[in-house]
Symmetry: C2
Subunit: 351 residues, 2 copies
């Protein structure tokens, strides 16, 4: 049945000797319409090969049923998990998802935001680029009360809400765990401090040290993009130190840097965790492949995505008022694995 002309509600109306208005209502299952006519309308629609015109509907009703997603990059384990969670929720609630990536560049982020604005998304889900400092490009949304939900890499703004994990506490717990394993010279591989995820983790790390009266030797906090190369470089730096000046533990703000740091150190004959214990962050698949398996923080992008989308949609539906809340913090769990198990007496193990 290859239709060539678009079938409109008028065609259905004519077909059934009804008005377009009735058809429109019937199609949406409005309770104003007689149950029988409703059925007739829906049957006719199917028979005629009708498909609703989203544009006309959006134009008239002034809502798009579309959420815009701004991400730093699409090809990241965390982002794709978050997207999956968002899609799960959104599709169930009848919302579409338009996606974009800034490639960590604030300029592209601005463009993407503008695009989303022109596309009249009903709401925005945002994880910020590495170098975003101001939120000016979101002002159009704030001004028009288009709800903005930041997730993971967030920023504070009274007209928005954040969905995060408690990075501070998670990092604090990781560090405390390393200390409990007897580590006293703990090094931290951190990310760009503009982003809450990394600055919070650093704070948690430092506070745990302070609380246990441990020093933070010079250069034991290094900032990088936490790539695999950065991990390898950190290892080179450690190897360049005289053995007694080396850290006895490394806490990396992501798993990638931790794992590639470990690989390089292992190749140099360093024993993990005996000589240097390791902990990462994210619970990436690679953390279960490296030997010894990497202690890390489980960090469910899927959950964060679901939560962010659900809150946004609930707000749009008027079920809750997002603007009352400042931030939603999800549980993050320390997963202790062999890379940090120095005391055999400590029997905490995964699962």
């Amino acid at each position: 049945m290859a239709e060539d002309k678009e079938v409109t509600i008028y065609d259905i109306a004519k077909h059934l000797n009804l008005s377009a208005a009735t058809v429109s209502r019937g199609l949406k299952g409005s309770s104003l319409i007689n149950k029988n006519t409703r059925k007739k309308i829906q049957d006719a629609a199917k028979a005629l090969g009708y498909r609703s015109n989203t544009f006309a509907s959006n134009l008239r009703s002034k809502q798009s049923l579309t959420l815009g997603v701004l991400t730093p990059r699409l090809n990241s384990h965390f982002v794709s998990a978050a997207l999956a969670g968002m899609e799960d929720v959104a599709s169930k609630e009848g919302y579409r998802l338009i996606i974009s990536q800034s490639l960590e560049e604030v300029e592209k982020e601005k463009l993407n935001a503008q695009n989303m604005f022109n596309n009249r998304v009903d709401g925005l889900l945002v994880s910020l680029a590495a170098n975003t400092e101001s939120l000016e490009h979101f002002e159009p949304f704030f001004n028009r009360r288009i709800p903005v939900v930041f997730f993971d890499r967030v920023a504070n703004h009274p007209d928005s809400i954040s969905v995060v994990i408690d990075n501070y506490t998670a990092a604090y717990n990781v560090t405390k765990h390393l200390i409990e394993q007897g580590c006293t010279r703990i090094m931290h591989l951190g990310g760009n401090l503009l982003r809450n995820v990394y600055s919070d983790r650093l704070r948690g790390f430092k506070d745990a040290l302070k609380e246990h009266d441990l020093p933070l030797p010079a250069k034991f906090h290094q900032v990088s993009n936490l790539s695999s190369e950065a991990g390898t470089q950190a290892a080179e730096w450690i190897l360049s130190l005289p053995p007694d000046k080396r850290p006895d533990a490394v806490f990396s703000a992501n798993d990638t840097a931790a794992v590639f740091c470990m690989l390089r150190l292992k190749a140099a004959g360093i024993k993990i965790p005996e000589q240097i214990a390791f902990a990462g962050f994210n619970n990436d698949p690679i953390s279960l492949v490296i030997e010894p398996n990497l202690t890390t923080v489980d960090y469910s992008g899927y959950n964060i995505g679901q939560t962010a989308a659900k809150n946004l949609i609930n707000h749009l539906k008027g079920v809750i008022d997002i603007f009352m809340t400042d931030a939603i913090s999800l549980r993050a769990e320390l997963i202790v694995r062999a890379s940090s198990m120095r005391k055999t007496s400590d029997v905490r193990r995964e699962k």
Copy 2:
């Protein structure tokens, strides 16, 4: 400047004492319009805080500048890379991306397809669910000549085009490489044969064996979902065999199964590659973490995504006619790493 009423082209027209038509043209930079008026119009638009209404424009012009993407699941390394490549191309060409996932279920895929159809996407990018058998749900697109580009997990249809890698040849080359390394009892961990990616790899594998007069012992081809659990199970099965009945090489249709199979075998004291050589497929990040590093096939989701999107958009722009082509096959490269290097004389190495 918090606007509350939407600014339309009529507002700009009134402001400048022009007609709406002129403003519409000026906004698009039409060469019909005087350069000065064009500038005036664009300045006024900015000053008044105008944003174009995509719906009205789409409604009138009957194109959405939107591409729909159907994926099996968003949280997969390959899919997210492909999406990144698509976004890269699409955003440069002024197209938006609406995404969806079938979660490997044909029923959800059907729903998603219908949704995309109602949303009047200009074109479709599709990677099929595991259990999709018929293409009926794409008929509406075929009938209306809405271009459909399959990528990675493809199907044949005269009104569509496929973007793939040459899975057959890649698998053939992997197998040949293992044979050249002296392996004679090669096992294959494969995926669902409904999908070209897995059936083609199996064919390549079998043909390479045949060509070298090697047998395929019973149960040396196993079908699974290629998850980490499936990899572990394959290892258990191998260990359950008497040592002289075990394979001396495993070629897995993805890296995940290969890596987790290796981990289990290593834990049982099997030497890799000496006792069992390994090769995977995908060049996932984990392939560089496992020790020894995994021989695999580099399989750029990013490239596939870019190519698929570029061809689709070129077709939409009338630059090329997609329907003339059947399939585009991208280069896939065998990356030999330590997991399959049995002959020290063989100096082929990565990079």
